[in-house]
């Protein structure tokens, strides 16, 4: 009896079958071809994605701690014991028996020479080149697989794949879905013309290729290390073709997006290309975007983002033991505020004008953009720390992290007075609002810490609330303004302000930072902050997912366990005269 396989499984096996089938007709002289994929792709390709060692990537991922942890989970065990998966395993074993290789060996053999995908604008074609490491083994495997493929097609009454010849190479498939095998190569494309170009290159060997494309060559030379996946896009051609109209807009309606990535947009409007590289190891996964950059490309209204000569560098983050998140950046916000007319659309400018008027009033007539923001240095930090409630009474039921804004003052003495007065007014304002809403009142105080004045305000608990372990949310906060050297700190708690002063004095900072923007997230303290609120998270899960307490506690426990496998995450934007680089990295425990 013919064994009938589900269509989904056959789709997975089809590529393997196709390789085998077509390899049987491959030309022997091509088997020893040692050219790389980029030597076969047309020079005018617009985008290229390369994975040179899929076998190494799979080895790294399958041995990764996170994957090992996932495999221990009951949900994973449940998933691999379901009937669908068991059927898949049965079919896989059947195929392995037929081809005489375990699936992993087949994977390494068929894909081990690398996978390259490219887009060719002239033909509007997409092509994938897959290179095997052993053409002879591939052909032997193919003979077995093709028998299975034919038997299955026959049993289902399906028509065999259409085929035609091109220069003695058999091309299979219908229009918009073609594939062929030539030597060690499997070539798949959605456009005949593109497939033929590549076959011509393969057989003639004398045509120019993407390797000869100057932009591509420069980008490839600057590859840092050995990325698992590397990609390149000819952005200049994309722009010229009018395919990136979004980049033409000068103005946005989103100040946060402008602050975060406004400079990146400036770069993308001029840079000839950009590359993306993915690095995977047992310790980290990094995604790096890189593009050529020249200072002369920077518009005047975006100098606030890059700094003079494009060398604006963020301060090293004021990290402490309890830091969860730090965002350190170079942004001359005063300039941004004053150049709002160039950066934002009409609606946002109206909003900013209203905000400017209100804030100017709040700062006792001082011009908010010029005087207040202008008194800040160009480097700013936003920090989030886990709070330590051990010696705090009352303890809030919901235990929030503390947070702070830190920066430098241009004219420290003069500005400190203004900030102090505004802070005191602000606390008074909060008290009026709080009194109207029946919330606890803030008690202002001045403290001296390491010879610096700290202006702080603490909520006063009710007599029956003093020793509470589940006090109101307000008891997460003790708004504080502090100064140390030329720095200022506006913190949500006095404790955090002191920690930041310590960090500023004791230089508990990470070294060697040269980023325009640096974001750091620490998994350990994030996990601890979440664990502080375990009951809240369990309750939220119960309500949001309808779980029992036990189910919810188990899920939150798993979340914290998984988090414990990570060290943290970072995101950097680095600018130099020559390159703009964005890097997102996730560090795991080895």
């Amino acid at each position: 009896m013919t064994r009938r396989f589900p269509t989904t499984v056959w789709l997975c096996g089809l590529i393997v079958t196709a390789i085998a089938h077509t390899s049987a007709y491959a030309q022997p002289e091509l088997d020893s071809d040692d050219r790389t994929a980029i030597e076969l792709l047309p020079a005018s390709c617009l985008a290229v994605v390369e994975m040179q060692h899929p076998d190494d990537l799979l080895t790294t991922l399958s041995g990764h701690n996170v994957w090992k942890k996932v495999k221990q989970q009951p949900q994973y065990q449940e998933a691999i014991s379901n009937p669908g998966y068991m059927m898949f395993l049965g079919i896989r074993t059947h195929i392995e028996t037929q081809i005489g290789m375990k699936w992993r060996e087949a994977y390494d053999t068929l894909l081990g020479g690398g996978i390259t995908i490219a887009f060719h604008p002239e033909t509007e074609g997409l092509v994938a080149l897959v290179r095997s490491t052993d053409a002879a083994k591939l052909q032997a495997t193919a003979k077995k697989l093709i028998e299975l493929g034919r038997a299955d097609a026959h049993s289902k009454g399906n028509e065999p794949l259409p085929e035609e010849q091109y220069r003695d190479i058999t091309i299979y498939g219908k229009k918009n879905a073609r594939f062929a095998v030539a030597g060690p190569w499997l070539i798949m494309t959605n456009k005949d013309d593109l497939g033929k170009k590549i076959l011509d290159s393969l057989m003639d060997g004398s045509r120019t290729s993407i390797k000869d494309n100057e932009k591509f060559a420069v980008a490839r030379q600057s590859i840092d290390g050995e990325p698992a996946i590397w990609s390149w896009i000819d952005l200049g051609t994309v722009r010229d073709a009018g395919l990136a109209k979004g980049l033409d807009r000068n103005q946005t309606e989103n100040p946060i997006a402008e602050l975060l990535v406004g400079g990146v947009l400036t770069n993308l409007r001029k840079t000839p290309y950009f590359t993306a590289s993915l690095y995977v190891s047992g310790e980290s996964t990094r995604l790096q975007f890189s593009a050529p950059h020249e200072n002369e490309w920077v518009e005047e209204f975006r100098e606030y983002w890059f700094g003079p000569d494009g060398n604006g560098t963020a301060d090293a983050p004021l990290e402490t033991e309890s830091t969860i998140l730090s965002i350190s950046t170079y942004r001359k916000v005063s300039e941004m505020w004053l150049r709002a007319g160039d950066l934002f659309d009409e609606r946002m400018n109206d909003e900013l004008a209203k905000a400017d008027a209100n804030l100017t009033t709040f700062f006792a007539g001082k011009d908010f953009g010029e005087d207040v923001l202008g008194s800040f240095g160009p480097t700013l930090q936003i920090l989030v720390n886990r709070q330590n409630f051990e010696d705090v009474q009352p303890k809030p039921a919901l235990r929030l992290p503390s947070f702070a804004l830190a920066g430098h003052l241009e004219k420290a003495e003069e500005t400190q007075t203004e900030l102090r007065r505004t802070f005191q007014s602000f606390v008074g304002f909060l008290n009026v609002i709080g009194a109207m809403q029946g919330n606890p009142q803030l008690d202002q105080d001045i403290d001296i810490y390491r010879d610096n004045k700290i202006y702080t305000a603490s909520f006063i608990p009710e007599p029956d609330e003093k020793d509470s372990e589940r006090a109101r949310i307000q008891f997460n906060f003790s708004p504080t303004l502090a100064f140390a050297k030329d720095r200022f700190f506006i913190a949500s708690t006095k404790q955090m302000a002191k920690e930041l002063i310590d960090a500023a004095y004791d230089e508990q900072t990470t070294q060697g930072e040269t980023s325009n923007t640096a974001i750091r997230l620490k998994a350990k303290t994030l996990g601890e902050a979440l664990a502080d609120n375990r009951d809240q998270l369990v309750a939220q899960n119960m309500i949001k997912k309808g779980q029992t307490r036990e189910e919810s506690a188990q899920e939150i426990g798993l979340l914290l366990e998984v988090l414990n496998l990570f060290k943290g995450m970072s995101f950097d934007i680095k600018t130099t005269d020559g390159e703009l680089k964005l890097e997102l990295a996730i560090q795991t425990k080895s």
Partner: protein
């Protein structure tokens, strides 16, 4: 069996229901009891209930609820977590969680009982207080505890406490009730809506009672008596004269003959039938029982659930399901769970946001639950509950639930759903149509069962309790 409410013999109506060959005690009647006394029951719960007598069940429901009412939900970690956010909207999901997870099996199975939650919902509609105006989750939670604590207890004690409840005082603008300007809101509502009903007091009584409440204030979320603002003069209320305090004023109201009849009438409407209004001769025996029990609610509720009237055709299928009964009832009957935050929002859209009653009269109920807008919303609620990504039935899906209940063939499935979900069974033609719906539906079995139940929800009788 009488078919006309006006012609009902009260002696027959409130006598204990005794199953007979004509009307045997079965799963369908047990399901009726669970829908009215709570929010429905699973098939397994019904199997257990049919082994006992209706009177025995009514007694144990009330006893379990009384027992649960003394367990302070403040110790409920879920409530603590919800309150930490300070948002009253989150409290709605917390309460729905209690309704859904209450068990008929008694204290060993759950921290609360369905009857206790149902009665707390009744009192929430009776002493209606809206979180939108109160704007404080802790005060709303404290009031909810108060209602639950007294739900089956002494109505007099509950009224005295609710009169000093900060949330109620804020809701009825009584936070600063000064002798120079007595606020009449609470005095009016305690007579008109909470205790006596219209026609049993005069405007003068309201004005005089309002003077009793002068000096009653809310300070920092607590009740405070400001003796300097209290009117110590002589007042005449409902025929009694003296320098009454607020508590004494409430006591005078509680002594009125109209009170037990007013409360008993509301209990009949809530638990037995929406309309027409119960005639006085039918209310009187319950009113007498309430007065003889020193205004304790439990004996009255037990009498209702054990009565002939409760199991008669005058009661079965004679109420429109409230949105909470519809949503929580569907999940409870199908052993389901879902995102209750979302459910609370959907209930709000179809007219019943718990903690947010529309006005001081509470929800009108009955036919007012249904209009062209809410009818579509109710169907959408059922559809969303059945298909939402967070919804699980029997811990998994509808196919698993059906299999566990032996409802594997389409006909058995339709019969089983008909029995546990509907107060009034489908006739044969409708059943056959539902079988066709199920057989023509596409997708996996769970999806097809969902389609079937959703189709059932479009039939008017699905909305009857």
């Amino acid at each position: 069996m009488p078919q006309d409410i006006a012609a009902i013999d009260p002696g027959w109506a409130w006598s204990p229901f005794t199953p007979s060959d004509e009307q045997p005690w079965n799963r369908r009647l047990a399901a009726h009891l669970c829908r009215r006394a709570g929010f429905g029951a699973t098939s397994q719960e019904l199997d257990e209930l049919v082994k006992r007598s209706p009177s025995d069940i009514a007694h144990s429901f009330v006893t379990n609820a009384e027992d649960a009412s003394q367990r302070d939900p403040e110790t409920d970690a879920l409530a603590t977590a919800m309150l930490a956010t300070g948002n009253s909207r989150n409290l709605a999901a917390w309460w729905l969680y209690r309704m859904l997870n209450a068990s008929w099996r008694g204290p060993e199975a759950s921290i609360t009982s369905p009857l206790l939650e149902k009665l707390t919902l009744f009192w929430h509609g009776h002493f209606a207080t809206g979180a939108g105006k109160v704007d404080d989750a802790e005060m709303m939670f404290a009031q909810n505890r108060l209602l639950r604590r007294h739900a089956l207890g002494d109505f007099g004690a509950m009224t005295q406490e609710i009169s000093r409840d900060p949330a109620m005082l804020i809701y009825l603008d009584s936070t600063t009730n000064r002798k120079a300007h007595p606020n009449e809101n609470y005095a009016r509502e305690i007579m008109e809506l909470f205790c006596l009903g219209e026609g049993n007091y005069t405007e003068r009584d309201i004005q005089e009672l309002a003077r009793c409440f002068t000096g009653w204030e809310v300070r920092r979320k607590n009740f405070r008596f400001n003796k300097y603002q209290h009117d110590t003069g002589t007042k005449t209320i409902l025929g009694e004269t003296g320098p009454f305090t607020g508590e004494e004023g409430v006591d005078i109201v509680l002594k009125q003959k109209a009170l037990p009849r007013f409360i008993a009438g509301k209990l009949i409407r809530f638990f037995i039938f929406d309309e027409p209004s119960a005639p006085e001769h039918l209310i009187d025996p319950l009113a007498r029982l309430l007065r003889e029990s020193d205004l304790n609610i439990a004996p009255v509720v037990e009498r209702i659930f054990a009565s002939n009237l409760f199991y008669s055709p005058l009661a079965v299928g004679q109420k429109v399901r409230s949105p909470v009964e519809l949503g929580i009832g569907l999940l409870r009957c199908l052993n389901g769970s879902s995102n209750l935050d979302r459910v609370a929002q959907r209930l709000d859209e179809i007219g019943q946001a718990v903690f947010y009653p529309p006005n001081v009269k509470g929800w009108d109920g009955g036919r007012t639950w249904i209009n062209t807008s809410t009818l579509l919303g109710r169907s959408n609620l059922v559809g969303e509950l059945l298909r939402h990504e967070t919804t699980r039935f029997a811990g998994q899906n509808l196919e698993t639930l059906a299999r566990k209940n032996g409802a594997e063939s389409t006909e058995r499935l339709v019969n089983w759903l008909d029995e546990i979900l509907l107060a009034v069974p489908f006739h044969d033609d409708a059943r056959n149509e539902l079988v066709t719906v199920m057989e023509q539906a596409t997708g996996d079995k769970s999806r097809r069962i969902a389609e079937l139940v959703h189709t059932m929800s479009t039939v008017p009788q699905f909305h009857l309790a």
